[in-house]
Amino acid sequence: MTLAATVEGIGLVGPGLAGWSASRELLARGPYVPASTAIPMPEALPATERRRSGKTVRLALAAGLEAARMAGRDAGSLAAIFASSGGESENCHAICEALAGEDRLISPTRFHNSVHNAAAGYWGIATGAMVPSDALGAFDASFAAGLLEALVRLAADPAQPTLLIAYDTPYPPPLDAARPIADSFAVALVLARGDAKAGARIEAQLEERAADAMDDAALEGVRRGIPAARSLPLLRALAREAPCEVALEYLDRRVLRVRVQP
């Protein structure tokens, strides 16, 4: 079975990458100017949830909403795959710290926000989506694993447009030394088959070979420094709007090879 889709919408929040539309040109032709990631506040989230949610949730939602907007699709109609290496990094740190303390008092909100699928939960509350969602991780292969999952889901149900959101935020000290993540990064793709609207067509398969790198040294640093940024070769290909193939890091020596046809 061919794993194929049309990319109807793209969302992006990363270091020096403030949204897909703002980053498209620099990804295609440069120049890339490094800067810290600025995470926008997603307007779709009700005020209470906006207060309760942490930066990882806001990061994932911002990318997802940009992609849904570009696709011209109701965000609540999309099956959603959330892919992240570590999920809720700050909540995890705060809980470990509290548990190592005297009274072990954890805030209940902190606890339910610490699940790997917290972003998926807030996404559902923000968009009203009752269609299936998933939350997964595969360490450094999390982006390719998420894309594969989304394409496989689409193959099983071609009539159901699917949104992939891959995201990571850095751990605070001391966990940052055990798992360095350079900065926050989120990428979102609205993928459809069947009655897909305009967009690049992608086809994917697993293959044994080396993953593509970025030519720009700073962008390559971002790619290697954040699991979700392993998507950058694909984003560059989509930005250039020329037919090409990219190899995205997967497990072991394997890559997800993606053919891009604008």
Binding site: S85, G87, H116, A178
Partner: protein, 397 residues
């Protein structure tokens, strides 16, 4: 979907090691819950604990993965000839054609909790032996099982809280259907840690007594730990149990409370029936999520009535195993397989008197019955729902 063969399974839990311990408890209606004696936990609650994990060792060369969660996985791999069954499947299909799809909510977070107690007093650093990738990270248990079994197929950790391991079945079924793998190790592994014990306590969802699903006096969950592993295989062959359908949905309602009318739960069950090509009347037993919190059981009861009416036998087996969180969907899938194989409707140890306001046909004690197909529910924080249908394929399929 095309039915997928359940060709092997194994489990370790508070009831013991190996499937026989689970089968015996199901037949007798016994509970594996005990007063909480875990690490330094000082909470007044009951747990389902896997005996002997403190002495469990990982095979040579894999010591870097050492943590409670991977020890539980290893304990399961040593039971029921499971590792051998996977090895045969890998020879049959090729190791690159066998995937690993496991659910976990907290993976080896206990290892990080312990490391945080040993921070360097000067700079706060974690102790040098702490191996984040192979213990704390969500993917660690998948990487462990995959490495231990020598598998090279696609692999992913599904982490959607308490629906994690049910959704692992759904994910693997799609990979098999898409032709990316011929077989898959699925299920889940979740083990005791202070994060979940103190976390559920902070939400006032932890019971001080052994949990009593569906009881009028139910007042919360008992946390359990388990490793539940299932080998799914494509195509022909004999097997008493097959995965017939998977259904998923979201509540889009609240992070830690279920939709009061069980709207998402209802959608998941209906989607699972559609996926299996079955009618509600074809299901002979429903293994409820049935956590024993007032809100879960009330919402699920409404959803079950909306889908099935009031005649289908239902029970929650969390009074036996405790709520094994990210492993619950896996262990309850195995319970469904044992129920079908033994033609046995499981009971609900711990539950004394069914809440009169709940309407489903709730089974308190195990009994023999003709079972053709069973449905298992798993719901999680963030409003994530998954229902699985097990049984034998109809001759026409």
């Amino acid at each position: 979907m095309q039915p997928i063969r359940v060709s092997a399974f194994t489990a370790v839990s508070g009831l013991g090691r190996g499937v026989a311990s689970l089968r015996t408890a199901l037949e007798r209606g016994t509970s594996g819950l005990t007063p909480c004696r875990f690490d330094t936990c000082d909470l007044d609650t009951y747990i389902g604990i896997i005996e002997g994990l403190d002495d469990q060792r990982l095979p040579a060369g894999l010591e870097g993965f050492d943590c409670r969660n991977n020890r539980a996985a290893e304990a399961a791999l040593q039971e029921d000839g499971f590792a051998e069954a996977v090895a045969r499947a890998a020879r049959r299909h090729g190791p690159a054609r066998v995937g690993v799809f496991l659910g976990t909510s907290t993976a080896g977070i206990l290892q990080a909790e312990l490391a945080y107690r040993e921070r360097d007093p000067a700079d706060g650093a974690l102790p040098p032996g702490f191996d984040y990738r192979r213990t704390q990270n969500t993917f660690s248990v998948v990487e462990y099982v995959r490495t231990r079994l020598g598998l090279e197929g696609p692999a992913v950790a599904i982490s959607t809280a308490c629906s994690s391991s049910a959704k692992a079945f759904a994910s693997a079924a799609r990979y098999i259907e898409a032709g990316l793998v011929d077989a898959a190790v699925v299920g889940g592994v979740d083990t005791l840690c202070l994060t979940t014990l103190y976390g559920f306590n902070s939400l006032q969802l932890l019971s001080a007594q052994p949990c009593r699903p569906y009881d009028a006096a139910r007042d919360g969950i008992s946390i359990g730990e388990a490793a539940a592993l299932v080998l799914l295989e494509r195509g022909e062959g004999e097997a008493p149990t097959w995965l017939l359908g998977c259904g998923e949905s979201c509540d889009a309602y609240h992070m830690s409370a279920p939709h009061p009318e069980g709207a998402g739960a209802r959608m998941a069950m209906q989607a699972a029936l559609r996926s299996a090509g079955l009618d509600p009347g074809d299901i002979d037993y429903v293994n409820l999520h049935g956590t024993g919190t007032p809100s879960n059981d009330a919402a699920e009861d409404k959803a079950v009535e909306a889908v099935f009416g009031l005649d289908v036998p239902c029970s929650s087996t969390k009074g036996m195993t405790g709520h094994t969180l990210g492993a619950a969907g896996g262990i309850e899938a195995i319970i469904c397989a044992l129920a079908l194989d033994g033609q046995l409707v499981p009971g609900s140890p711990g539950t004394r008197e069914v809440d009169a306001s709940l309407r489903a046909r709730y089974e308190l004690v195990p009994r023999r019955a003709a079972l053709g197909a069973a449905l298992s529910n798993s719901f999680g924080f963030g409003g994530t729902n998954c229902s699985l249908v097990f049984g034998r394929p109809s001759p026409a399929a």
